[in-house]
């Protein structure tokens, strides 16, 4: 069964055009409003990194639970993981924009602020980048090894690579729990340097897993509609829907508990975070965030009438793409820019990163068979049937 996908030249040119558009929008931003451009760079890079990390967690979860149903789709999360090194390079560029994004990186803030002084042993520029490099090294090594085991399985077959994938996945999940927690603390939470929330990393990790899964579902559905994955049936859709449904609940649970405890305790140093996010136009975003990321998926994925319907799942996954953007917008923009802005810079940067992600993803997906050949559960996946 030859199921290699071709990443057409036309598609590649479209992706490259988007990248150029994004580069132009960012360049325009750096000239006119550097703070806004840096916020956009961080948001979009973290956005697509979170999709890649979420996909890698999804893949690892399939391995450790020895899931049968998903084995024919495993090349999709694998190809999404290929974005991690690119995100790493772009994240390193933050070195030049530290002062625009992170208040704690200013010398004068450090000199006069006791809280920043207290956090300085952890939050200082050299250690920040040492951690960043360590995190990305861990992710790049683990995603490469997972990918290699999967490709070796195509060549040699047998159970060795299957068992190896499971072992690697255990290590990967363990590493992710530590590294991604600190990564979100470093890159997102430290923007509000006076504020902290212990559930923050868990919440952002779930958001990454949630939206990564939604994107996997979306890509699988799009490929299915192009004629790939002919074996995709209602049972696979139901499994994807259940993931989205479950994750919308977990996302809502964590997000709400973070908000509710702070709202209820009403201690000034904690409440200031949400006070900032309730001013001017941000309050709308706060509610829209809950609506898109919790209410909509929760109600739509309840009934089997809608959650087995390919069009509903596809539309929902597209809405969830916006959901992750809004979620990150609410976390990053209020502190840096103090007022909601959305214009050419935002649209252009997002388009550019989409182009880059699609380009990297497409190359990776085309470099191997779309359906793994020797996965022990492949037949189970092809004939997946739920009652």
């Amino acid at each position: 069964m030859d199921t290699r996908i071709t990443f057409s030249k036309r598609f590649q040119y479209a992706a490259i055009a988007l990248i150029i558009l994004g580069g132009a929008a960012l360049a325009y931003g750096f000239i006119t409003q550097p703070d806004r451009a840096w916020a956009n760079l961080l948001l979009n890079n973290y956005y697509f990194l979170s999709l890649a990390i979420g996909a890698s967690f999804f893949l690892a979860l399939q391995h450790i639970s020895q899931s049968g149903w998903s084995s024919m789709f495993k090349r999709v999360p694998e190809a999404m993981m290929a974005f991690v090194p690119y995100a790493g390079v772009i994240m390193l560029l933050l070195y030049f924009g530290m002062h625009s994004i992170y208040h704690w990186s200013h010398e004068e803030a450090l000199a006069s602020d006791a809280i920043i002084q207290h956090k300085a042993p952890y939050l200082n520029i050299p250690f920040f980048f040492i951690r960043m490099i360590l995190f990305f090294m861990a992710w790049i090594v683990m995603t490469r090894l997972l990918r290699k085991a999967s490709l070796n399985e195509d060549k040699t077959g047998g159970m060795i690579n299957f068992e190896r994938s499971e072992l690697l996945s255990k290590i990967h999940i363990f590493l992710l729990a530590i590294t991604f927690s600190f990564a979100t603390f470093d890159w997102i939470m430290s923007i509000d340097v006076h504020w902290f929330s212990t559930i923050f990393s868990l919440r952002n990790f779930v958001a990454a897993f949630y939206h990564g899964t939604a994107v996997i579902a979306l890509i699988v559905i799009l490929l299915h509609q192009k004629g790939y994955f002919p074996a995709l049936n209602k049972s696979h859709l139901l499994d994807f829907s259940r993931y989205i449904f479950m994750l919308s609940i977990v996302w809502g649970y964590f997000t709400f508990s973070q908000f509710m405890l702070i709202w209820y305790a009403n201690i000034p140093e904690e409440t200031s975070y949400f006070a900032e996010r309730w001013h001017s136009g941000f309050k709308v975003i706060f509610y829209v965030n809950f609506f898109i990321n919790w209410f909509l998926p929760f109600t739509l994925m309840l009934s089997q009438v809608t959650n087995k319907n390919i069009h509903v799942v596809k539309a929902l996954a597209i809405v969830l793409l916006a959901g992750q953007y809004i979620d990150l917008y609410e976390q990053i923009f209020p502190t840096i820019l103090h007022a909601p802005v959305f214009g050419l810079i935002e649209i252009g940067t997002f388009a550019g990163f989409t182009g880059l992600f699609v380009f990297v993803f497409g190359k990776a997906l085309a470099s191997a068979d779309l359906i793994p050949k020797n996965h022990p559960y492949l037949q189970e996946s092809l004939h997946h049937h739920l009652h």
């Binding site: 709400f256 908000f259 509710m260 709202w263 209820y264 009403n266 309840l302 009652h387």
Partner: protein, 175 residues
């Protein structure tokens, strides 16, 4: 008066389902199937449908609305108290109670619905044709008096589909 039943014992679910399909094709009526764990295939094969999930949804909806209404009534309308300057309608703090009480409502209402629908109550007598269905065997039961053809044909069919044992037994309700 007790009826004689034909009992087929299977080792695994695939063999059981193959036998069930074949038996249905021959037009033989199945009396009951006992499995170690719930199997949706069996429910489908017996021509049974369940609206239980929809009932659970309704209980959840009613529970959530009821609890929210109750909290609103008690803390806003009937007995408004100022807790640390919070508005009396402290909606976010209602949510936790609502979630927990909704789960309780759904659980209890579902339990009672299931018990009423399946006519199960404490101390009810039951029929257990083969004890091993509570361990690792799949047991299928036929009413011998309802068989049109001979029992031999059914026995042969079950054995051919992989039954490890086929025997006849008079079933008595136990306590």
């Amino acid at each position: 008066m007790n009826k004689t039943s034909i009992i087929g014992v299977f080792d695994e679910e695939n063999a059981l389902m193959a036998a069930v399909d074949q038996v249905k094709k021959e037009g033989i009526e199945i009396n009951e199937i006992y499995t170690p764990y719930p199997m949706h295939e069996v429910l489908e094969a017996m021509g049974k449908k369940t609206r239980f999930t929809f009932a659970a949804f309704l209980y959840g909806f009613a529970g959530a609305s009821g609890v929210l209404a109750f909290l609103y009534y008690t803390s806003v309308i009937d007995w408004p108290i100022n807790y640390g300057g919070k508005p009396t309608n402290a909606f976010p703090s209602f949510i936790v109670v609502t979630i927990v009480l909704t789960i309780l409502t759904v659980t209890l209402a579902s339990l009672f619905t299931f018990s009423a629908r399946a006519a199960i109550y404490p101390g009810k007598s039951f029929i257990l044709p083969d004890k091993r269905s509570t361990d690792d065997k799949f047991v299928i039961v036929f009413d011998k008096s309802l068989l049109k053809g001979g029992a031999e044909k059914l026995n042969a069919l079950l054995l051919e589909k992989g039954a490890v044992e086929v025997y006849e037994k008079e079933l008595h309700p136990q306590n």
